[in-house]
Symmetry: C2
Subunit: 395 residues, 2 copies
DNA sequence: ACAATAGTAAATCTACTTTCCTATTACGAG
DNA sequence: CTCGTAATAGGAAAGTAGATTTACTATTGT
């Protein structure tokens, strides 16, 4: 219930914030369009834009033409006002990918430079690693400073202590690492779970683009779930929300799968594939082989897999009731639309729930894309908020 | 990212809103305290309070004394500025309670009148029923008008169509009923699921009072779950969030409990009690008997019940990771602290999760209390917001 | 009597709006 | 093809709303 109170200064701050937020949301706008959208008068709009331009936050990017009268100036956010570094940190024991994939983008969202780092540049020292990656990408992009760093990690992040937890990459579990990085590199840093970031990417440019909220079901070596509430992700008290692998399957009974991880996790899928005669090295390969094949064995394998995934789906649908569930992760990607249809069929056969199901629409590295999206959002928000004033204390 | 923009008028509106919100949150405040909290100057604070008082929203409730100088006037929200009617609608086939329990309270939260209605005053016509209840309570309280009606229903509410769904009370499932009530009685109406309202009461005056967020596990005839996210409840795309009874227990297998409802729902608990030699008429009675008893059978029954509840708990804890889970509903209430301890023990024994568990601290009708809390919140928010101006359009 | 505090009044300041003016462009008539 | 006209962008001047600072009066306790 806390509301802002203040004087004329606050009003100006709010009008600058509103203008900046509109420029960020809509890309390019003329003075007249801004006047329309903010409801402010012509002189005020001009004055606000002058201030923003002088502060280096907005720039004139062109002029209109065609109509009668002078050509209106077209304004946009100054892309050079901030630089975001996104780094996806991976546990290489589980994948064939490079341990670090990173990208640099400007405030407008344009990717300035991107690279994978097959070996750790500083060999186990996260601060050195990030410093080296930042230096390399800045050199390639011709930038001199990074404003914000967004990390994507296979683990959970505790913002209270600035510590990344449950991570199996040397040095990265060190207590207070994120705080340390912020201090050592003089920038703001945020970290997030890789599945959460994949969900953010899916919302910004994937299958969930139009959806108000949705849940992402990650089917890979591990089982994960991200719950997008529309405005933010459900993170949980200890950053453990979505750890769906721990969901038990009833009372403990010998011989039965104990939890969802043992029902639909990577090893379980691989075992199921092997039982159906598939010989790939990983669950992903077996599913990909089966999805391409036209044999009875393939149909049986995918059908059995779909039955299991439908169970996971039902747990999420019953508890959260999202308007959409997106299947992502290596296994889902390998199974594609064929697997999706089988899962939907099994879901409808076994439950009264009717939550729509999609597969990921992303082919690129979803975690890195999500880290870029998330980092951009942070920077943009802090930029807009920094124009605004202190709120009155709540409670 | 949408921000407000505007002129001096907006500023005044904001300052009035902020002042009103503080009065609502803190109860009573002097001009000086408001000045401190809002950061506004003395003349502005005076002016805002004059406006609020003239509008009938604030009143002087007393004077300070003791210090030197004149006695400062103490302001508070005018309790007569709004009247909230809360009605809990029940499915009598499942309980021994009256079908309607209702209370009238003022803007300050004081209960003006309260009554249970053992028979339906208008016999199956919701509009007539509500009208009769409102008239009766208004007469007792000496009020002439109700501002807002908050319904608590055993079912889910779809705000889009104003329809209550999955409700087994004659007439109450009629499409558009809530909209119809608002029009017929000339007031604002909101409805919510009974378990959700119990969670709201638990947050305001129960076991979750200090917690930022929490989950409420409802153990009664049905199984339910409310997920409090701190600022709001998780409702889901179709109002079906928390329908935890549908959570499947693995692949369909004959002879096994199929879902959580058949594992820990009322009938399953009653069957478990009967198997342990308990003879109560309902699950609630059996659990209450066992909780009071010191026999081996009681210990075995409660232990087996706790094992089952721990499974439900694990599902919620793994997916949502709340900082606290409150056990509520007839069965949990009957089991009390003894059951809670057994559940915690079983939970720790079978999962790596460590979510704290409590039992409900409410003895009164949680749904009615929650309906009052929720209705009050609505009225207060709309009151504060009505002082404020139109937001600029997003996207 | 005096010090401290509550509340009001007057003067000032900030930022927004309305109104008016000038400059620029497209278009069509001559 | 040229020039006048209508339409529009942007800015300047005047006016207004609301907040602040400062000064003053009234009230209460020591």
């Amino acid at each position: 219930m806390a509301r802002l109170a203040g004087s004329s200064k606050l009003l100006r701050a709010m009008n600058e914030s509103a203008t900046m937020a509109l420029l960020i949301d809509r890309g390019t706008l003329t003075r007249g369009e801004l006047r329309e959208l903010t409801g402010l008068s012509k002189p005020t709009t001009s004055d606000v834009l002058r201030t923003l331009t002088e502060a280096g936050l907005a720039v004139v990017v062109g002029h209109t033409s065609g109509g009668p009268g002078p050509n209106a100036e077209v304004y946009a956010v100054n892309p050079a006002a901030a630089t975001v570094l996104a780094i996806s940190v991976r546990d290489v024991s589980e994948t064939l990918h490079a341990p670090f994939e990173a990208a640099l983008c400007d405030l407008g969202g344009a990717v300035l430079a991107r690279a994978a780092y097959p070996s750790d540049p500083a060999d186990g020292d996260p601060v050195g690693t990030v410093r080296a990656i930042a230096a390399d990408l800045c050199a390639r992009a011709g930038r001199d400073r990074v404003t914000h760093l967004q990390l994507g990690v296979p683990g959970s992040y505790d913002p209270g202590t600035g510590t990344i937890r449950h991570i199996d990459v040397t040095g990265w579990g060190r207590p207070g690492l994120v705080t340390e990085l912020a201090a050592a590199l003089d920038l703001t840093v945020d970290a997030d779970n890789d599945v959460n970031l994949a969900a953010i990417a899916e919302r910004h440019r994937g299958a969930a683009a139009g959806s108000g909220s949705f849940a992402l079901l990650w089917l890979g070596a591990g089982l994960g779930c991200a719950i997008d509430l529309g405005t933010s992700l459900l993170r949980g008290a200890t950053g453990g929300a979505g750890e769906i692998g721990y969901v038990p399957l009833g009372l403990a009974a010998p011989g039965q799968p104990r939890d969802l991880q043992s029902l639909a996790g990577g090893p379980a899928v691989a075992a199921l594939g092997a039982a159906h005669g598939f010989t790939g090295a990983t669950a992903e390969e077996m599913v990909a082989d089966a999805a391409r094949a036209d044999s009875d064995a393939a149909a049986a394998f995918l059908g059995a897999l779909a039955d299991r995934i439908a169970v996971v789906l039902a747990v999420v649908a019953a508890l959260v009731d999202p308007p959409l569930v997106v299947l992502a992760g290596e296994v889902a990607q390998a199974g594609g639309a064929r697997l999706r249809d089988l899962v939907t069929e099994a879901f409808h056969r076994n439950t009264p729930l009717r939550t729509p199901v999609e597969v990921t629409a992303l082919t690129d590295d979803a975690v890195l894309l999500g880290a870029m999206d998330s980092g951009l959002r942070s920077v943009r928000e802090s930029l807009v908020d920094s124009l605004n004033a202190r709120p009155i204390p709540a409670r």
